[in-house]
């Protein structure tokens, strides 16, 4: 102790001494007769006039640094200080020796928003790039970017796919907010040519297994009955498989459809299908940006094993009120968007869609059909307000429903979501977003006829709060952290007879409640110019809380007891650490290697027995009987760009191991069953594959071509005698192409092609006669395949002539789904011949051969 005090005192005295010596030395004078000196020359001059000695680093930048100074006579102290100031140096004068040290470069932060010039929309994932440094950053989900720079002049390129890049010269001395607006390519403005590395390209991004799709791309591709659908478009990507013919359900890298997290403006969507899943609830007109993560899911998201589909709604035009819409064969759409007030600070969008197949049904001569009502609608609304550059509020909602009614029965189902988000900048380096969201899926089924009259309803609701922060520490490190907490209420089914006439009594599947929490932190770190690492950790926790009812089962899945828990009591908890790692090594300016590892967990799943799913399927939570599903995915890929990044090639290979896989026992009863958990069987599954992708982004020719080879298998106790079997989505070969070509500025041709190995199927290998019918004796589960699936769709889009004085712009889209009329089996049945009961034959049911459609889209 004494010793350290002594040392401190000595140091202090030495410092004081230095100071006084310095003052004495400063009496010496130097006369200068030039206005600009190179550092080295100036030092030489001082040495000559004062005989002081100098030490400094042998650095050309320092030696050639220019010092501007007036012709005058200076004290040594003042002159040294001036030099240090101008060249950003530290100095020390001791024993007639002056030493200079270069100070670490001072950084200032340039931050702001990147937006669309004409609509004011945020450009998610747009890039800003320092032309002389070869480094840059991308805008986050709210269009915000933050870039650390050395003070001085910089040339910065802002760019985004489909937009004209803009080069901006900035002279920056202190932290600065700079918002930029980019123009779309088809607006005729002066051409800007960008040179050098553009970080937008896939090569440099430290993420893999992701695909970003613009709502505009979705619009160009042929669609079933002309109904453009993002969920159908993503099924055209390698690694993504359709769950069933025509279905919006999809399987990512061998996972189940319920292992995909679909979020619309952050709110999870629990059933994204309309009309038996042939159409999705996402009205393309209301969307701006869609990103699919097939793996490498960011630590900020979790709760599903296989994928994340992040769908963002448009914010609304901040410049002027515009409208657009379309009239199609299935539905009509209308969207209005524009500013509220004059300051461009507030804007709104309202987008609606309604099907009108029922209007045709009403024209039918068949009485049965005529009395039926069947329709769906969607309504997306969003308002956002910018209080200032530091605070912005977004409020968005989705409301959609399917309605089916006949004279005595009805079915309705739909989603509701609500999201309020507040973007706040604590500083130009710390961006935050606070989200409050609500999401609900419910259905109601009823029959008013006779003694069997009943109502049956089911509901799932979710309230969540999320906090997300991005800290732009320095150009080499971007740290993201945050957390979320959700309350989930499951009301799986409540059925009761209605009115006096009904003989059915009340049946309620017990409701359950759960909390789901998560904390995460992740850093993206650049190490040198070639290597970027991404490492993060997500901690997730799940609680079952009362009121709740838990059945217990013996080893044969027979119910042995029931336990009830009081409201608010946490009676079961699961938690998991989920590491997420990524690496990107740039080999050359146009090629890189990427690798990733992600662990994901899933605490709720769907009672989806069939491959395609149906509206009555319900979500059920993890519980004392149902362990959370876990997945570990490893992926490695090689990325190579050609033709000035206009062609992006990639090959990725992955291996995924999943634990606590859930499948359902044979002839499982999953709906309106209090003892649902007794119908579940548990095991493990694995999937692996290779995905080849080539993406074209020429001005006239755009789209992609992909090939996937993949396998997906399960092994579940109590199913298939415990032997390994193919997952329903195990379709090894898969070729997908989605291409569009602009014949002229007004005419675009597009085509989709897909080929996949036939879906796995279980077929009878024998039959036994039983009282006039046959008992079929089946093969092992999924040991056969349907015939291979292939299909070509074509479309042509013709834009009306643009006239300068006319606001109205029209566009015709004519499409032909399944252009060569392939009869792809939807399912296969074995039927007993009506005329000869001893004869059985196989019959396939197929959907959609040659489905033409015509859609008129307009803008005003």
């Amino acid at each position: 102790m004494i010793k350290s005090i002594y040392t401190l005192t000595t140091v202090f005295l030495m410092l004081v001494g230095l100071q006084s010596m310095g003052q004495k030395q400063s009496q010496e004078l130097i006369k200068l007769n030039k206005q600009v000196y190179l550092f080295e020359k100036l030092v030489h001059e001082i040495k000559k006039q004062t005989s002081y000695n100098f030490t400094y680093s042998n650095n050309n930048k320092l030696k050639n640094g220019k010092v501007s100074i007036k012709k005058n006579t200076y004290s040594l102290q003042a002159l040294i200080e001036e030099i240090a100031n101008q060249l950003n140096l530290k100095y020390r004068i001791a024993n007639r020796q002056i030493s200079f040290k270069m100070m670490p470069e001072k950084k200032v932060t340039l931050s702001g928003y990147i937006r669309d010039f004409s609509t004011g929309e945020d450009l998610i994932g747009a890039t800003c790039f320092l032309n002389n440094k070869g480094s840059g950053t991308t805008a986050n989900a709210y269009g915000f970017y933050s870039l650390d720079l050395t003070p001085g002049k910089h040339q910065i390129t802002y760019s985004f796919i489909g937009y004209k890049p803009q080069i901006v010269e900035v002279d920056i001395t202190s932290d600065k907010m700079f918002n930029i607006k980019l123009n779309t390519k088809d607006q005729q403005l002066s051409e800007v040519i960008v040179k050098g590395d553009d970080p937008v390209k896939n090569i440099k991004r430290p993420e893999m297994s992701t695909v970003k799709i613009q709502a505009n791309t979705v619009k160009k591709l042929p669609a079933l009955m002309g109904e453009v659908d993002v969920l159908k478009t993503i099924q055209m990507l390698p690694g993504v498989k359709s769950a069933a013919e025509g279905s919006t359900g999809f399987s990512v890298r061998g996972g189940n459809p319920d292992q995909n997290l679909l979020i619309l403006d952050e709110a999870p969507v629990y059933n994204a299908s309309h009309l038996l899943g042939f159409f999705s609830i996402f009205n393309n007109d209301a969307l701006s940006d869609i990103k699919l993560y097939k793996g490498d899911i960011p630590a900020s998201f979790g709760g599903r094993l296989s994928s994340l589909l992040d769908i963002r709604m448009k914010n609304g035009n901040t410049k002027k009120v515009t409208g657009y819409g379309g009239i199609g064969t299935v539905s009509s759409r209308l969207t209005l968007e524009g500013p509220i007030g004059k300051k461009e600070n507030t804007s709104f969008i309202v987008s609606g869609r309604r099907s009108y197949a029922d209007l045709f049904l009403r024209l039918s001569s068949d009485e049965d059909i005529k009395d039926n009502i069947v329709y769906f609608y969607d309504l997306n609304t969003k308002v956002n307000h910018r209080f200032n550059d530091k605070n912005r509020l977004f409020i968005s909602s989705y409301l959609g429903k399917d309605q089916f009614k006949s004279d005595d029965s009805g079915l309705s189902f739909g989603n509701q979501t609500f999201t309020a988000r507040w973007n706040h900048l604590f500083s130009n380096k710390l961006f935050s977003n606070t989200t409050l969201l609500y999401s609900k899926y419910n259905y109601e089924l009823s029959n008013k006829d006779g003694a069997e009259a009943f109502i049956w309803d089911s509901e799932l609701t979710n309230w969540s709060l999320k906090l997300d922060y991005t800290y732009y520490l320095n150009p080499s490190n971007t740290i993201k952290f945050g957390g979320s907490t959700s309350y989930l209420r499951f009301e799986p089914g409540y059925a009761r007879g209605i009115e006096e006439q009904s003989f059915l009594n009340e049946y309620r599947v017990p409701n359950s409640n759960a909390l789901e929490h998560a904390l995460y932190i992740t850093n993206e770190q650049k190490l040198g110019s070639r290597l970027t690492l991404k490492y993060g950790l997500r901690f997730s926790m799940f609680n079952n809380i009362g009121d709740g009812t838990v059945y217990s089962f013996d080893e044969n899945y027979n119910t042995t007891g029931v336990t009830k828990y009081k409201k608010g009591k946490i009676f079961n908890t699961y938690s998991n650490f989920e590491p997420r790692l990524g690496l990107n090594y740039t080999i050359r300016s146009n090629s890189s290697i990427k690798a990733s590892y992600a662990r994901t967990s899933q605490y709720m799943q769907l009672t989806q027995k069939s491959s395609g799913g149906m509206p009555l399927d319900v979500w059920f939570p993890a519980s004392p009987n149902v362990k959370p599903q876990l997945s570990d995915q490893f992926a490695i890929g090689y990325f190579h760009n050609l033709k000035d990044n206009k062609v992006e090639l990639s090959v990725e290979t992955y291996y995924k191991k999943m634990k606590n896989t859930i499948d359902f026992k044979d002839f499982a009863k999953l709906l309106l069953n209090k003892e649902l958990e007794g119908e579940l069987r548990f095991g493990s599954s694995e999937s692996y594959g290779v995905e080849f992708m080539s993406k074209f982004n020429f001005s006239a020719f755009q789209g992609w071509l992909g090939y996937t080879w993949s396998r997906s298998k399960r092994k579940v106790n109590g199913i298939n005698n415990g032997k390994t079997y193919r997952s329903p989505y195990d379709k090894p070969h898969d070729i997908k192409a989605a291409l569009s070509y602009s014949l002229s500025p007004r005419t675009t041709l597009s085509a989709n092609f897909s080929y996949t190995t036939g879906s796995p199927i279980t077929l009878p290998t024998g039959r036994a006669a039983y009282q006039g019918s046959f008992i079929k004796i089946y093969s092992d589960r999924n040991s056969y395949r349907m015939e291979d699936y292939h299909r070509l769709d074509l479309a042509v889009t013709i834009k009306g002539k643009e006239k300068p004085n006319r606001k109205w712009q029209g566009e015709w889209n004519i499409s032909l789904y399944n252009a060569y009329g392939r009869k792809n089996p939807w399912y296969i049945t074995f039927e007993q011949d009506d005329n000869n009961p001893n004869v059985m034959y196989a019959e396939k049911t197929y959907l959609f051969t040659y489905v033409p459609s015509i859609t008129y889209n307009f803008k005003f």
């Binding site: 006779g450 059915l504 009594n505 199927i761 290998t765 999924n782 056969y784 059985m840 196989a842």
Partner: protein, 286 residues
Amino acid sequence: MKTVYNYILLILLISACTEKIDIKVDTGEARLTVDARITSDNQKHFVRLTESSEVFYNQEAKPITDAIVSVNDGSRTIKFMESSPGFYQSETEFRGLPGKQYELSISNVDINNDGTDENYSAQAQMPHPYSVDSIKMHYDPKYGYGDDEGAYWLVSLYMKDNPEEDNFYGFGCRINDKLVTDTITELTIAEDIYFNGETTKGVDVAELFQEQKDEIVKNNDQITLETYSINQDYYDFLDQLNEMEEGQNPVFSGPPANISTNVSNGAVGFFAVYSITRTSTIVKTE
């Protein structure tokens, strides 16, 4: 679920087509098929034994002859004699008694031709019969779905379900004593999970399709409803048999699987033991 089917049919009406296809499937090993029934009727009961075949075998199932078949009711063994190939009839007439456990034994069968005979057995208890209050007939000119849509005579049931126990029902129908529900999948089946302890309030339990020859109802016909009191195992078997008929539809059904049986040793089929309650009414169509 009717509503859902209705909805789905309506949507698919627009776009679904069917076509016969050729499909190659392997042939599994032959298995003994048992169709055995003991009811509360006082009669000669029978057992039918056949061999399972490949799916596209286009003849009557091969009978299993020369088997030794018997049923034991706990106090005596009743022998079943082969009356025609594959058909075995009880030597004497008897009535199955509620609460009694019956055991079926089959031997002297070598289904896999390995030179060693196999033994098969099955047990089932006869449930107590239901008491039906009454039935009523009513006519619906527009009923059913798809190919089966048309005019129907429907049989309404009036009875009370026993609230104390889990009950399983089967319903068959006779017109002037002729059984019209002669194919197993024509039976209506129900479990009381959604109506335990309720009165049935005239729910329709049998459907007579007026476009099907053997189901046409004429004035003054006697309609007899057969209410079967079945046990849970047999109910599950029938329920699975119905589900299997639907095939693997990507909207509702998962992969099909082998249906349950109460016969041992890898046989298929069922040893059904049930009691029958008959309720009749005369139809007035005019």
